[in-house]
């Protein structure tokens, strides 16, 4: 079949309906390395503007850190650019295995297997270790890549209300007849910035004989007393059976991810996980540089402490100004606006003020819960945060929402 007029028209109509529904995504071209201050070309074709970045996952400010760049240069010279092979043919250098060892050590797990991304890790892991006799019980707000991975797996699916431990307990009771019960959750939920109560989850898992899976993409490197992640924060290191995470956020932000956890599970992934078997190995530059990043994190807590201080300062400033923040215990700080159009307008006005922060609304978050999501970084200096607060307050005054309750904002702008 050719790419005929009818097909073309159908695609064009689908694109048009995305535009009409306000769901069409536009890329914004950044003319600088990733940092606290970047130059953004938006709309496309206009001259780039200098803005302060409040929407990257560069939590520790390592994406363009001089030592990280230096390590990457050295790795390129030492190991080459690419491997042109999947891992099990001729795509495994000693540094790939070294990174797996370092990640296991860092996360406190038995073993680790690298993937091209955490999306791939999540897509591959469930199918590799669960079958029809098993059940996957997921928090309803887990990341899309987990949902995709669950869909690829033959085990039964179930879910519990976000963070609702009673509901999870009911589900665990209901599924006592299955071979394996696996509780599945994000460590940090990326839209709300809240954390999964892993102490409670582990307690339930022990009581009802279930395994625990967490995706710690938004935590690895900075959350918990030494930055190991959400399991460290809740004092349950060694009790999580599977951790997936990404190198594409706090850990330098290039790309790559992994499944880390019980030895046999990792071994099975190496034999069976399709994104591992049928996709090219991680570039040596990324592998060697991520090793360096983990070394940096183990040497000093400075960046983590700065991130904590920055986040506390940012939240306090917004709260004192009268914004409503979503309860969050991470560097993700959502400012609630409830109405989708208000969130879009607010974000656009912030951009005019030199502040880059994105509005999120349905279907990315539930209807009536539109927000601006800000993400704080150790790369932010006090001056960046102050300029951010100034702009937020200016735009907040314009829309008359400072000090207003949720009901008052909804009354003014609707849901």
């Amino acid at each position: 079949m050719a790419y005929n007029e009818a097909i073309k028209k159908a695609y064009q109509e689908e694109l048009a309906s995305l535009r009409a529904a306000g769901l069409y995504k536009e890329e914004r071209y950044i003319h600088t390395p990733q940092a606290a201050e970047i130059e953004v070309e938006f709309p496309a074709g206009t001259s780039p503007r200098k803005v302060i970045n409040f929407c990257s996952n560069n939590y520790l400010g390592l994406s363009s850190h001089p030592e990280v760049i230096k390590a990457a240069h050295e790795a390129l010279d030492r190991w080459g650019f690419g491997m042109s092979s999947v891992r099990f043919i001729c795509g495994t250098q000693d540094i790939h295995r070294e990174l797996e060892r370092r990640v296991s050590e860092f996360l406190g797990t038995e073993d680790t297997i690298l993937f091209s991304s955490c999306m791939d890790a999540n897509a591959g892991v469930f199918e590799a270790i669960l079958g029809e006799q098993d059940v996957m019980i997921a928090d309803r707000l887990v990341h899309a890549s987990i949902i995709d991975g669950m869909r690829l797996c033959k085990a039964q699916q179930d879910s519990y209300k976000h963070a609702n431990m009673e509901h999870l307990e009911e589900k665990l009771q209901e599924h006592q007849d299955k071979r394996i019960r696996m509780i599945i959750t994000d460590g940090v939920f990326s839209m709300d910035g809240d954390t999964a109560r892993l102490d409670e989850i582990v307690r339930l898992a022990e009581k009802y004989d279930a395994m625990v899976f967490i995706d710690d993409s938004h935590a690895t490197g900075y959350l918990g007393p030494t930055g190991r992640g959400t399991h460290e924060l809740y004092g349950v290191m060694g009790k999580i059976d599977i951790i997936t995470t990404t190198f594409g956020k706090a850990l330098g932000g290039a790309s790559g991810g992994c499944v880390s956890g019980r030895k046999e599970i990792v071994e099975l992934c190496r034999q069976k996980a399709r994104p591992y078997l049928f996709s090219n190995t991680l570039s040596p530059v990324i592998v060697a540089t991520t090793i360096k990043v983990i070394e940096l994190l183990s040497q000093t807590a400075d960046r983590r402490e700065k991130l904590l201080e920055n986040t506390a300062y940012w939240k306090k400033g917004l709260q004192e100004a009268g914004f409503i923040l979503k309860e969050s215990d991470t560097a993700i700080v959502p400012i609630m606006l409830y109405n989708a159009k208000l969130a879009q307008d607010f974000s656009r006005d912030l951009f005019e003020e030199g502040i880059y922060a994105i509005g999120f609304f349905f279907p990315v978050v539930p209807k009536g819960q539109a927000r601006i999501r800000t993400q704080i970084s150790a790369a932010h200096e006090r001056e960046h945060l102050d300029r951010g607060l100034e702009a937020f307050i200016k735009v907040g005054k314009k829309y008359n929402i400072l000090g207003k309750t949720k009901e008052e904002i909804i009354e003014m702008y609707g849901l």
Binding site: R140, I147, Q156, S159, K161, P363, P366
Partner: protein, 82 residues
Amino acid sequence: MDEMQKTILDYVKREYLEEDQEITPDTPLISSGIVDSFSMVSLKRFLEKKYNIVIPDDRATPQAFDTVNKICELVRAIQEGR
């Protein structure tokens, strides 16, 4: 409200809604974003067990599950072999 409407409405409330959320048998659930289609799996399982039926995957669509009334319609259709 008949018995089936009530049973299904109660289940939907318990399984998917927070305490302050109210719905009627005609409230759109999926298209309105109150419930995401991923979570609907548990509803399908509940209906199959409760009414002793098998809902084929191609009939368990987000459209067919969008309101309590539509769900009742689907269950009846399958019960009657339609």
